[in-house]
Amino acid sequence: MKKVHSVLFAAAAMLLFSPDAHAGDISGKISFKGRAPEIPQIKMNADKQCLAMHPKPVNSEDVVINSNGTLKNVFIYIKSGLNKKYDVPTTPVVLAQQGCQYRPHVFGIQAGQPLEIVNDDPLLHNIHALPKNSPQFNNAQPIKGMKMTKKFDKPEVMVKFKCEVHNWMNCYAGVVDNPFYAVSDDKGDFTIKGIPNGTYTIEVWHEKYGTQDMTVTVGDKGAKADFTYVGK
């Protein structure tokens, strides 16, 4: 009993010194400059069912440049500066297989958070995740509407997914240990909300153009972080 009391006392003491809950947002834009690469079309000839689903040719998603000259599918996360443990959300991140493509192509997830993988196609897909820090998995989803839930034990930026049946299918997940991450959207914008005040190193990752770092100080009013990738 005595021990518990001392624990209680210590807990009460800690409560008095718990950090202030001030927080802000980081927002920014991922611009693209230089020569735009040629975007190849995906050849789905190997699976006639896939081919039939796309009357129009489909572009490869390796590089997606938005109409306003920004870059889509860039993963942004806080690389260092956070030193608290964050609760792992129980709401799953959903990864869908639609028309023999992954939706979304790039996404973020917290380590330990459930990842729900859904097959929306009436044909066999298999999802082969290739993490290095967590165990790999490779499961088949032969039936439309099949779902499965997986998770990654440890942070890793990025984890690649591929489909062994359809060699053009792949996607990437940024596995991090905090809730502060984002993926640039159709306008190249992103926002990470509710970051505690402090100074952080944020990193952006692109499938083809690699990573960039920036140091950002977040106050109550938030912070801006714009990045530019240059095509070669």
Partner: protein, 854 residues
């Protein structure tokens, strides 16, 4: 009679100063000795206190983390509710209830006593009454008394029941007050469980006494006189953090062991540290314990990778060891370097010679080339395994003369007429060489990817970059069509080339010209004197250790036995005129770097000069270090079972034939993948082969391979293995899967007819043929998975089930997806969703696939 002296002489000198000074000094010296004994000579006490301090520091940090991890709002809530509940306990009703319960308990005790007394009175009375019964005069008086007592007992029992009832209700009432508080208290304790646990740990570390921590290995060693004796191992008196995960970043001697996975199977609390690391286990000061400061300790600590040399003390039988990739590679290097050609070594006896036979070389080579080669093999090919014997011009010429003289007596002749090789296309030949897998063993031109993947300084097959300058094209054709024709014991396999393919390859190889300047050659290879001298030189240098040479069949090994070389003492080593440091490791290192280094004007050395890399020198040194005759007693060694022997033989064989150049076997091999764009398009993993394929299929496949994966360009060669060798491989693969060779009738496997319909349905639903193919005729070169019609005669039925259950577990990284995540079927309506039954159904369907056509 005795005359008493009038006066006893007295010495008046005063010695008290001497007494004072020397007793004082002696006291100081004694104190000094005590301090020396207790502290100075026991530095481990300091280490242990420091470790405790460090450990508490880390635990405290964790404790603080655990405290901050507790959700403070939950804790505050619980605490306030607990306080509230406790407050209620202070109310009058609660105290009244408690008091009432105490009164009831007393009443119950009284009632129980009254009941028990009445019962014993009744028993005694009944005895008296039964006596009267026996006498035939039952006493009515006693009977009445008994009846009265029965009434009394019943009344007492009822009273007890009543009181018990009251107690229950009182308890329920008290419980109503108390349970809330108790459960809140428990919840709070649970909330801080981690922190409390850490606090207990901190206390236990703080209270732990300073003590010598020793492991006693009974009957471990043998003394020099052959007596079995115990080993005392006290390393963990200072190395306290070996198994403590917290100490990963702590400095030595506290740091966590760098290979915790090895410690899991070699528990240091049971085995101590010295069986692997050596050193002087019972010593407790740094230099003595490590054995490095004690010139008389014969087994000082093994530093760096040398520690792996200890593995073979207990693991006596195997070449490769899991978790010791370095040492497996070291043993591979040792084996491939052919040390056993000249040295007798336990465990390396009766192995095939590593070099080719030299009895028919006129068909293949020119004397000029042979002479140049013998003079300095590395000059012709820096990556050859043939070492430099540093022969003089005369000696090299004489050896050439002898080899050509026995070549003339050879019965070998080409199968085809001269010039048959002509008419190939060099560009096609280049493609063949790239596609068929020649480059898995041979380096050609600038393509050194496989060599780099192997990571050895030597190749296991001749580099062909200058083949045209060396080889006779007629001979090349004959050789690549059927290598065993020229050399019946060669390990070069046949790739089942058609005549045209062989012609193309010859054409390609003949473009590999050698335009480098050559030494002049003017040796009379027919001179009797040269031939006789050549024979003597070959005898002296022991060429027959690696090559079959006619006339030398009965020769023994030319050099010393190395079976106990790890224990050779520095005093027994000759350092010549060198300034090399007088240690075992320096002698061996220098000898391996330049085997003639200790040669003097008077002492001739014949060991040839190798060109090993620094890593390889260290590796071979580790292997030599492991050659010790003082293994621990049997109960500490890994038992040498049949399967261990099979594994060892198989490992040696697969190294010899270069199987590991293409295939991965356990932790090594698969180097060919380096030249493939997609490693999944390479030769398959063989670690699992024994459990996977039927033995008759494996044996017939090894005899005459047929393509399983037609989309692969690389060919599985025909090695023309002997029956013995095929058995060795079979047993090796089986042992890798934990099986042994037994007769099994695979043909008698019959699919369950009740499952076939569902099997077909599952087969179609799972869309297996999106990747796999069926039938030999319509082989789709784009398919990425094997022909399922082969399964019936190839795969073990039980293996198919485990493969379907979890392919990733059997072959990590495989393209085959798992259809039954966590052993659950995705189709609950087939076979009632029983996953195992579904797998059996698919398997049974597969095993009908080939049959339908027949």
């Amino acid at each position: 009679m005795f005359q008493k002296r009038a006066e006893t002489p007295i010495e008046n000198r005063d010695y008290s100063t001497f007494y004072l000074v020397f007793s004082g000094l002696l006291l100081l010296a004694t104190l000094w000795a005590v301090v020396d004994e207790v502290f100075v000579r026991r530095p481990w006490k300091g280490y242990q206190s420091e470790y405790d301090r460090l450990s508490v520091e880390k635990l405290r940090a964790q404790y603080n983390d655990a405290m901050s991890a507790v959700d403070s709002s939950t804790a505050a809530d619980l605490r306030s509710r607990l306080a509230e509940a406790r407050q209620k306990l202070d109310s009058k009703e609660y105290h009244d209830a408690v008091r009432r319960l105490d009164g009831l308990q007393m009443d119950l005790a009284d009632a129980t006593r009254a009941w028990r007394f009445a019962r014993s009175n009744s028993d005694a009375l009944y005895y008296q009454y039964s006596v009267t019964l026996h006498d035939g005069h039952p006493s009515a008086d006693l009977k009445k008394k008994l009846d009265d007592l029965d009434v009394e007992i019943a009344a007492d029992a009822k009273k007890m029941d009543d009181i018990n009832g009251s107690i229950d209700s009182a308890n329920a009432m008290i419980g109503g007050f108390k349970d809330t508080a108790d459960s809140l208290d428990a919840a709070l304790t649970a909330l801080y469980a981690d922190a409390t646990k850490l606090e207990t740990k901190i206390a236990s570390v703080e209270q732990s006494p300073l003590e010598i921590k020793q492991v006693l290995l009974n009957d471990y060693d043998k003394s020099n006189f052959g007596e079995v004796k115990a080993r005392v191992d006290r390393c963990q008196t200072c190395h306290l953090g070996a198994t403590d995960k917290n100490m990963a970043d702590a400095p030595q001697p506290f740091t966590t062991h760098s290979h915790p996975e090895l410690l899991k199977i070699h528990n240091p609390e049971k085995y101590g540290c010295t069986p692997c690391h050596r050193g002087q286990g019972h010593a407790l000061t740094v230099g003595e314990a490590h054995g490095e400061a004690d010139p008389f300790w014969e087994t000082p600590i093994l530093r760096g990778m040398d520690v792996y040399a200890s593995c073979s003390a207990c693991h006596t039988s195997r070449q490769a060891l899991k978790g010791a990739a370095y040492f497996s590679k070291a043993r591979q290097t040792f084996l491939e370097s052919g040390c056993y050609g000249c040295h007798d070594i336990d465990g390396y006896k009766n192995l095939p010679k590593i070099g080719p036979q030299l009895n028919s070389i006129p068909a293949k080579l020119q004397p000029e080339w042979v002479y140049r080669w013998i003079r300095d093999p590395k000059n012709y090919n820096p990556h050859t395994r043939m070492p430099n014997f540093k022969l003089s011009e005369k000696e090299a010429g004489a050896v050439t003369a002898y080899l050509f003289s026995i070549g003339k007596e050879s019965t070998f002749s080409l199968d085809r007429p001269k010039g048959f090789y002509a008419g190939g296309s060099a560009s096609l030949g280049k493609e063949h060489v790239e596609n068929f897998g020649c480059k898995a063993c041979h380096v050609i031109g600038d393509d050194v990817r496989v060599r780099n993947a192997r990571g050895s300084s030597y190749d296991i097959a001749p580099e062909l970059t200058h083949a045209a300058g060396k080889l006779n094209p007629d001979w090349i054709f004959d050789w690549i069509k059927n290598p065993r024709h020229y050399n019946p014991t060669t390990k070069m396999p046949s790739l089942r080339l058609s005549d045209q393919e062989a012609r193309d390859i010859v054409a390609y190889l003949m473009t590999m010209r050698d335009d480098r300047p050559k030494e002049a050659f003017n040796v009379d290879i027919n001179s009797e004197e040269n031939i006789a001298l050549g024979k003597t030189v070959i005898r002296q240098y022991g060429c027959f250790g690696c090559h079959d040479i006619k006339g030398m069949e009965t020769e023994g090994k030319v050099s010393v036995d190395l079976s106990d070389f790890g224990r050779k003492l520095v005093e027994q080593m000759d350092f010549g005129d060198t300034k090399v440091k007088h240690t075992w490791a320096d002698w061996v290192g220098n000898k391996l770097r330049n085997s003639r280094v200790f040669q003097t004007d008077r002492i001739v050395q014949r060991m040839p000069v190798f060109a090993l890399s620094d890593t390889e020198i260290s590796m071979i040194r580790s292997v030599l270090l492991s050659f010790r005759a003082d293994n621990p007693q049997a109960k500490y060694r890994v038992e040498v079972t049949d399967s261990q022997t099979d594994l060892d033989a198989g490992e040696k064989l697969t190294i010899r034939y270069g199987c590991i150049n293409c295939h991965q076997l356990e932790e090594r091999g698969g180097y060919f993948a380096a030249i493939l764009d997609d490693p999944t398009k390479g030769p398959p993993l063989l670690t699992i082969e024994g459990g996977k394929v039927q033995e008759p299929w494996l044996q017939s496949f090894l005899k005459s391979p047929s393509p399983i994966r037609p989309w692969l360009k690389v060919r599985m060669p025909t090695f023309s293995l002997t029956e013995d060798e095929i058995n060795t491989v079979t047993k090796y693969f089986l042992a890798l899967s934990g099986q042994s060779l037994e007769m099994r009738d695979y043909a008698s496997f019959t699919p369950d007819p009740h499952l076939l319909a569902d099997g077909t349905k599952l087969f179609n639903t799972f869309q297996c043929i999106k990747c796999h193919q069926l039938g030999g005729a319509q082989i789709d070169p784009k398919s990425v998975a094997p022909n399922l019609e082969l399964a019936r005669n190839r795969l073990k039925p039980e293996w198919v089930i485990s493969w379907l259950r979890n392919p990733e577990a059997i072959q990590p990284g495989t393209m085959m997806p798992g259809y039954f995540p966590d052993g659950q079927s995705p189709l609950p309506d087939v076979l009632k969703g029983d996953a195992t039954l579904q797998m059996r159904a698919i398997r049974d369907h597969l095993f009908t696939l080939g049959k339908k056509k027949n």
